[in-house]
């Protein structure tokens, strides 16, 4: 009896594997960054509003901050934008925009239209600095602590759940920086 049922059992097993695989398919696509837990690479890039000046991650050492990768071409960045606004208002730490592979005029127009909640923006037109940060899509959000260590990286748009998680982590970073 068991011998006859064996193919069915194997088939059932494969089916279970398939269903389990489908459930985690999206999650498995995310490439965990090897940079989490490591110092943030120092990037010095032109500012968005004032292209003559350069801004650097080095100037932020000593305080926790958020680095958010976005582009006006990025559809999902618009989706997460309400939460970016909330981060800008509620997080209490600098919110740095990393304008990735964008056109300056497009980016400025986008900010005009949807609102600029960021503290300032770094412009990476070529995408060279983004490689050093391990960026592979937009939006991506990095949390950097006061020692300059990347504590967390969120890949993809921020939704309500992610927002809560980020806020919890930011509060923890702020507490650590205060001590």
């Amino acid at each position: 009896m068991i011998r006859m049922l064996l193919p069915l059992i194997v088939f059932g097993g494969l089916l279970a594997l398939l269903i389990a695989g489908l459930q985690t398919a999206e999650e498995r696509k995310l490439v965990q960054s090897p940079l989490v837990g490591k110092p943030v690479p120092e990037v010095t890039l032109p500012a968005l509003h004032d292209p003559q000046t350069t801004r650097s991650t080095a100037e932020l050492v000593g305080q926790p901050y958020i680095l958010n990768v976005w582009g006006s071409w990025c559809w999902a960045c618009r989706v997460e934008h309400p939460f970016i606004e909330r981060l800008g208002q509620e997080a209490g730490v600098p919110l740095v925009g990393f304008n990735w592979k964008d056109e300056r005029e497009d980016a400025l127009e986008w900010l005009e239209r949807f609102g600029d909640a960021w503290s300032f923006h770094l412009v990476d037109f070529e995408g060279r600095a983004a490689i050093d940060l391990g960026v592979y899509g937009a939006p991506e959000t990095y949390l950097v602590d006061h020692r300059g260590i990347i504590q967390h990286k969120h890949i993809g748009p921020i939704d309500a759940t992610v927002f809560e998680d980020l806020m919890r982590r930011i509060m923890q970073m702020r507490a650590e920086a205060g001590s």
Partner: protein, 152 residues
Amino acid sequence: MTRLQGFMRFECSAFRVQGRLRPAAMILAGLLLSAVVAASAIEPFPFESELQEQRFRSLAEEIRCTVCQNQSLADSDAPLAQDLRRELFAMLQDGRSDMEIRMFMVDRYGDFVLYRPPLAGHTLLLWGGPIVLLLIALGSTIVIVRRRRKAL
């Protein structure tokens, strides 16, 4: 689960919605698309020698594009893959070794970018799995053959 789909979709298409392509160019691109499909995604770089070009190609083929994850850097049209190819070429020009270039990619994107990741604790199943399966198959074949012989 669905929230990530939009995130990946634009990046993976050959023609990104980014404002840089003019409508006429888009139409032309569309017309040409069928002809381009079979061709490699690699843009012509001014290689110094044939050897350098070979090294570029073999490295581009063994590094995964993290955007379109079933494509190598050599296959992918994703903007990030273009950037990484440019970086790869610059590093070759710079005289860096193949190993240094692989480390550069791994430092930024993790072991996942290598189609042949190093043998380590977390890749043991990946490398050992096929051997284990082969052993199981061999073992069961032997058992089945022996049983049939006995039955004869």
